[in-house]
Symmetry: C2
Subunit: 214 residues, 2 copies
């Protein structure tokens, strides 16, 4: 693994997946090199923002040449750790769980979804993207056998609290949390990424209100 | 409408929904006032970050008193424009559309979901949260009759491009976009909030990789 500046801010990290999307599109179109100015124009940023973001990771660009697209793409993937395949389980196979299991490609993003659980007996045995839904009383046994490290929580708030304590005791270290339960209060060592879908809706509301007032 | 600093950065705006969640919980627990220090501890921020964020909007807190919880809550809602009820349609009633329609409370977030459309004839007439799914060839007529201002796009990339052009021509101004199609390239005046669920997964991967390496 290459060594990078240890003080990369999490806000820079959060911008990297967006760079990855644009670089992937360029790569798929056969583009080999791009200037920070040109990349900036495509991404709606300034060239200086791009240089600042990418300078944290050492010098990918060459003055007067620009960035090598496939190299930069691969480096960002390495920085994010996407070469991993963290074994992952999902709890909750309702509409949200289904949407996540069916439409997201875990393997390209550092994860390997290996089990899906729900408390609803009627879903037992059904397959989502080739993965069988199991009853949630099987979670403990499954974790003993397969040692997953991450869990996707697609359950209501009420269920999340007790579930998280169990999952932590079964060895889960990382949570992709779609519930609004605040995992880190009781489990400060857990690595958590929260998804609050409604937040984006409120930001859209702000933008629409602003436009109306201007 | 109260007047605020016109130069509020969008990154501050994006943090406001999180304040709102914490303030709502406090309000529901009957808490009337809170110091920036105490609010910071609950939110995992520093008191100075909180004062900086909230100072953009004028002086809500009083030195030595702290913030009045119900007042601050109401003010943030006003700032975000959540008193609006922008008429909204959703396109795509697959797993993702279903999850969004069933689990999100649009009305508290500035929007009023009034129509759901899908191209799948088998879904026609089914109700999600009391709203009937219509065939997507009804969108134009529906827009003429009801003049919705916002659209939630829960369709694949391939469908999004043509759909957006139509929706803009029908008067849609704001998009909550779950597809990865970049709406603003062809429609620079559209107000767009993109949801890239996979980005959070990559951030989680980074955090887990970091923990493993430390």
């Amino acid at each position: 693994m290459p060594r990078y500046d240890d003080n990369i801010s999490i806000s820079v990290i959060r911008r990297l997946p967006r760079y990855l999307r644009f670089l992937e599109a360029l790569k798929n179109n056969g583009v080999i090199k791009i200037s920070s100015k040109e990349l900036a124009a495509r991404m709606g940023l300034t060239a200086s923002q791009i240089r600042q973001d990418l300078n944290c990771f050492g010098e990918f660009g060459q003055q007067g040449y620009g960035y090598n697209v496939p190299t930069l793409y691969d480096e960002i993937k390495k920085i994010l750790g996407l070469n991993h395949a963290f074994k992952t389980i999902m709890i909750g196979a309702g509409n949200l769980g289904r949407a996540v299991a069916m439409h997201l490609y875990f393997e390209g993003k550092g994860f390997d979804l290996i089990g899906i659980f729900d408390k609803n007996k009627e879903l037992e045995g059904e397959k989502l993207n080739g993965i069988e839904i199991m009853l949630d009383d099987k979670i403990e046994q499954f974790c003993k056998e397969h040692s997953p490290e991450a869990a996707v929580l697609c359950v209501p708030n009420e269920a999340a609290e007790m579930l998280c304590s169990k999952l932590v005791s079964y060895g889960i270290k990382g949570f992709w949390n779609f519930s609004h339960y605040d995992i880190t209060v009781a489990h400060p060592d857990a690595v958590v990424e929260n998804v609050h879908l409604g937040d984006g809706l409120m930001t859209l509301c702000y933008k629409l209100s602003e436009q109306q007032n201007s």
